[in-house]
C-alpha cells in the first residue's frame, strides 16, 4: 500500500503525457469545437488511445486488463485533464465497463468487455435526472409486464450518451425516491423502440444527452445484476468514477495554475513583473497549498479504489469535493490573474475554466460530497 506510483504506472503516465502533447493538445479540443463536431471526440485519437491500452487499463485480467489499477488509470486521467483531451474513457471504461465487470452476467461480460477493452464499443451511464447529482433520487420507473421489463422516464447529463452503442440505465423498480433499495440497472439499445436521444451541447464544447424512455420494452437479458439491489455496485463504480473525475480535475487545475504562475512572471506592469506583488504571491501560494492537499487525497482515493478498502467511499468524496471546489477557485483565480486577456476566447484559460465546471458537476459537487462524507463519518 502506497500513495506513490509504481514503475509501471509511471511509465503509463509518461507515455500518456507524451501522446497527449503531440496527438491531443488543447488545440485539438479547440478544433473540435470550431468545426462543430457532433461526436465531441475524435474517433481516430480514441483508436490510438486504445492501442496504448487505456480502455483496458482496469478490466479484469481475463479480458486483457493491464493490471495498473485505478492509480494507473487515474494518472492517465490527470494527463487528460492537462490537455483537455476529449475521450470516452470515463463513460465507457470506468462507468459502463466497471458496472458490467462488477454486476454483469457472464454473457454480458463476454459480449461487452472485450469490445470496451479494444475501444470498439462506446457505452454511457444514464443516471442523473434532477439538476444536481443524487443517485438515491432516481425516479425513472421499471416494472414487470407480461414477462418483460418496461422502462419509462427521462435522464439528463448522460455523458457521451449521444454516441453510445448501449446505455446503462439506472431505474427505480421498487421503493420510493430517496431509498437506496429498489434500483435496477438495464442495458438499453439506443435504437430500441421508445428510446429518444437528444444531444445537448455543454459549455466545455463536449456533449451529453437527454434520454427519454417511453414504455421501452426489455427482456430479462437486459437486466444487469439482481433487480432492486443495484445500489451497492453502482455506488462503488460511481466512487471510482468520482476519483477519476477528481484526477482529471487535478490535471485541469495544475495545468491552469502552471500557466498562471508563468504569466505572473512574464506580465510587466508598473515596470515590474506582477508576480513580484505580495498580494498575488500569497494567492498563488494558497492555491499551491490546496493543490498539494488535493494530490494526497486523490492518491488515497485511487489507492482505496484498487484495494476495495472500507474507507474508499469517504476518500472518493473527500477527493471529489476538494477537486470540485479547487477547480472552481483555481480557474476563477487563473482568469482574474490573467486580467483582460483572461476573458478572451483566444487564450486557453477559458477552456480550462469551462471544463472544470462540467467536471465539478459530474457525479457530485463539493456540497454533495461534504454531505456524503458527513454521513459516512456518522455526523
Amino acid at each position: 500500500m502506497t500513495l506513490l506510483l509504481d514503475d509501471e504506472q509511471r511509465m503509463l503516465r509518461d507515455s500518456a503525457q507524451q501522446f497527449l502533447a503531440t496527438r491531443s493538445p488543447v488545440s485539438a479540443l479547440r478544433a473540435l469545437r470550431d468545426r462543430g463536431d457532433e461526436r465531441g471526440y475524435d474517433p481516430e485519437i480514441w483508436r490510438e488511445m486504445a492501442d496504448l491500452g487505456w480502455p483496458a487499463a482496469v478490466l479484469p485480467a481475463e479480458f486483457g486488463g493491464l493490471g495498473v489499477g485505478y492509480k494507473g488509470l487515474g494518472a492517465v486521467f490527470e494527463q487528460v485533464g492537462r490537455t483537455l483531451a476529449a475521450t470516452p474513457l470515463l463513460s465507457t471504461v470506468v462507468l459502463a465497463g466497471g458496472l458490467l465487470a462488477e454486476a454483469g452476467s457472464a454473457s454480458q461480460r463476454d459480449l461487452w468487455l472485450p469490445k470496451i477493452g479494444a475501444g470498439e464499443a462506446l457505452l454511457a451511464l444514464a443516471i442523473d435526472e434532477a439538476p444536481r447529482h443524487d443517485p438515491t433520487q432516481v425516479t425513472l420507473r421499471a416494472w414487470r409486464e407480461a414477462g418483460h421489463w418496461r422502462l419509462d422516464g427521462q435522464k439528463e447529463f448522460v455523458l457521451d450518451g449521444h454516441v453510445a452503442d448501449r446505455l446503462i440505465v439506472v431505474a427505480r423498480s421498487a421503493d420510493a425516491p430517496g431509498h437506496r433499495n429498489g434500483l435496477s440497472l438495464f442495458l438499453v439499445d439506443p435504437a430500441a423502440a421508445g428510446v429518444q436521444i437528444e444531444r445537448t451541447w455543454l459549455v466545455d464544447s463536449r456533449h451529453a444527452a437527454r434520454v427519454r424512455l417511453a414504455r421501452v420494452q426489455l427482456d430479462d437479458a437486459a437486466l444487469i445484476g439482481a433487480p432492486d439491489l443495484a445500489f451497492d455496485a453502482l455506488d462503488c463504480v460511481l466512487d471510482r468514477a468520482r476519483a477519476c473525475v477528481a484526477a482529471e480535475l487535478l490535471g485541469v487545475i495544475t495545468e491552469a495554475f502552471g500557466r498562471t504562475v508563468s504569466y505572473l512572471k512574464e506580465r510587466v506592469q508598473f515596470d515590474v513583473p506582477i508576480g513580484s506583488f505580495q498580494a498575488l504571491q500569497h494567492r498563488a501560494a494558497r492555491l499551491y497549498v490546496e493543490i498539494e492537499l488535493l494530490r494526497s487525497c486523490l492518491a488515497a482515493a485511487l489507492e482505496a479504489a484498487d484495494a476495495g478498502a472500507d474507507g474508499a467511499a469517504a476518500l472518493a468524496s473527500l477527493a471529489k469535493a476538494r477537486a470540485s471546489d479547487l477547480g472552481e477557485r483555481t480557474l476563477n483565480e487563473a482568469v482574474q490573474m490573467h486580467g483582460g486577456v483572461g476573458v478572451t476566447d483566444v487564450l486557453d484559460i477559458g477552456l480550462f475554466l469551462k471544463r472544470a465546471r462540467v467536471l465539478q458537476q459530474a457525479f457530485g459537487d463539493g456540497t454533495f460530497h461534504r454531505d456524503r462524507y458527513a454521513s459516512l463519518r456518522g455526523l
Binding site: 504562475v261 504571491q281 499551491y288
Partner: protein, 389 residues
C-alpha cells in the same frame, strides 16, 4: 527474513516486553514528560519507560553510539517509529535539545562540544530552550540585537530574547546573538550555547490572552559565556540556525505522532451538533475533511522521503496548513458551543467547554510562532513557485 524484518521483529518484542501498558494509551499535554535536570514523573510507569528507553539509547536512536545514541540507520529508525506507532507507545520524553540542537551539533559542533553536550542530551539530563526572537526581531529575525562582545576567553552577552518556550524550566539555551554590529544583517550573527544558571540571566513568563503559557522573556545583563560555546564559526550563526530550523518540522511532528495532544473534535462537537441543522453539519464536515487531507499529505510526504523523492514543495506547506487548521478547528468548536464556549474558567461550564475556549485563544499563536503564515506564504511563492522578489 531480511535484516530489516529481523530488526522489526526484535524491536517489537523489546517494546512489548518493556513498554508498560499505561504508556500505550494516547497522551495528553499534561502527561508529557520533559527531559532535563528537573525531570519529574507523575507515576512509576512513566519513570520505568523513561529509564528503559534511555538505557537502550533510543532517546536519540539515530545518533552514533559514541555520542550516546542508538546507532540506528534511517531505515531502522523509521522501523522503530513505525513499531512504536503500531503499539501506541508514548514518547518516553519530549526533548527539543535532541530533536533540534542535537543534529546541528553533530554537523557543526567541535569534538569538545559533542562530548560535553550530546551524551547528556541523549540521556535526557538537560532541557534546552531556544533564544531566537526578540521584541524587535520577529518575522525579520535577522534584525536581532542581543549583543555578544568578546572579552578574553568569554563573550559578554546583553539584551533580551522573547517567546522562549519553557525558558523558566530549561537548563541551557541555544541562542542567536550579534557578534559584529558593523556587518550586514545576517553576517554578524553567531550561534551560542548559554547555561541558564549563569549570573545575569533573568527569566519572566509571559501571560497570553489564553492565560498562563510556557512562553517566557529572557533578559541577559552582562552574562559571561565561554567563547568555546559558539557553534560553527563566529559570525556564521545564521547558517547554523537555518539548518536547525530544517529539523523543526520533524520535531513538531513528534507532538502529533505521539498521540495528538488536542481534543477529538468530533467527540467534543457531537452534543452541540445535535439539532444544529445542515449548515453546522457542513462546516463540521469541511473541518474534518481538511484534517483528513492534512494527515494524508503527511503520509505522502513520509513515503516520498523514504523513496528519496524531493519533498521540498509539499514539505513547505505543512507548517502553514497544520497551524491554520488547528486554529480554525477551535474557532469552529468555540462557535458551535455558542455562549457555552465563552468561558475559560467559569463554574457551570464543562471541562470541554473551558478547554475549547482556552485553546481557541491559545491556537491564535500557532499561525504566528515558528514563522508566521505570511512568512510561510512568502517562502512558497519565492522558493517553490519561483516568483520574483
Amino acid at each position: 527474513m531480511s535484516g530489516i524484518d529481523e530488526f522489526r521483529a526484535e524491536v517489537r518484542r523489546w517494546l512489548e516486553a518493556n513498554c508498560p501498558a499505561s504508556m500505550r494509551t494516547p497522551i495528553t499535554n499534561e502527561e508529557m514528560v520533559w527531559g532535563g535536570s528537573r525531570v519529574s514523573f507523575q507515576n512509576e510507569d512513566q519513570r520505568i519507560w523513561f529509564e528503559r528507553m534511555r538505557d537502550r539509547g533510543w532517546f536519540a536512536p539515530d545518533w552514533p553510539s559514541a555520542c550516546g545514541g542508538g546507532g540506528l540507520g534511517p531505515r531502522e529508525q523509521r522501523v522503530l517509529e513505525q513499531e512504536m506507532l503500531a503499539l501506541g507507545c508514548r514518547l518516553p520524553q519530549y526533548n527539543l535539545g535532541i530533536w533540534m540542537l542535537g543534529p546541528v551539533l553533530l554537523e557543526f559542533g567541535t569534538a569538545a562540544q559533542k562530548s560535553e553536550h550530546l551524551p547528556r542530551m541523549a540521556r535526557g539530563e538537560v532541557r534546552w530552550c531556544q533564544g531566537f526572537s526578540e521584541p524587535n526581531a520577529g518575522s525579520d529575525l535577522a534584525s536581532l540585537r542581543t549583543a555578544a562582545v568578546r572579552d578574553g576567553d568569554d563573550f559578554v552577552v546583553s539584551g533580551q530574547k522573547t517567546w522562549t518556550s519553557d525558558g523558566d524550566k530549561a537548563d541551557w539555551m541555544y541562542a542567536l546573538v550579534r557578534t559584529d554590529p558593523q556587518a550586514k544583517k545576517q553576517q554578524g550573527i553567531s550561534f551560542i550555547m548559554v547555561d541558564m544558571k549563569s549570573p545575569g540571566v533573568t527569566v519572566r513568563p509571559i501571560e497570553l490572552i489564553s492565560g498562563k503559557s510556557g512562553f517566557c522573556e529572557v533578559f541577559f545583563d552582562g552574562v559571561r559565556v565561554p567563547a568555546k560555546n559558539v557553534v560553527g564559526d563566529i559570525n556564521q550563526g545564521w547558517g547554523v540556525a537555518k539548518r536547525l530550523l530544517e529539523h523543526e518540522r520533524a520535531a513538531m511532528s513528534k507532538f502529533t505522532e505521539g498521540g495528538a495532544p488536542s481534543l477529538d473534535a468530533l467527540v467534543v462537537a457531537a452534543p452541540y451538533l445535535a439539532g444544529g441543522g445542515p449548515v453546522w453539519r457542513d462546516r463540521m464536515a469541511a473541518a474534518l475533511m481538511d484534517q483528513h487531507a492534512f494527515s494524508l499529505t503527511a503520509r505522502r510526504l513520509q513515503e516520498m522521503a523514504l523513496a528519496r523523492e524531493d519533498v521540498a514543495g509539499p514539505g513547505s506547506i505543512m507548517k502553514l496548513v497544520q497551524s491554520e487548521q488547528e486554529s480554525a478547528k477551535y474557532e469552529l468548536l468555540q462557535q458551535l458551543m455558542g455562549h457555552r464556549g465563552l468561558s475559560m474558567e467559569g463554574e457551570g461550564f464543562t471541562a470541554d467547554e473551558r478547554a475549547v475556549c482556552r485553546l481557541w485563544l491559545y491556537t491564535k499563536s500557532y499561525t504566528i510562532a515558528g514563522g508566521a503564515s505570511e512568512i510561510q506564504l512568502n517562502l512558497i511563492a519565492r522558493r517553490v513557485l519561483g516568483l520574483p522578489a
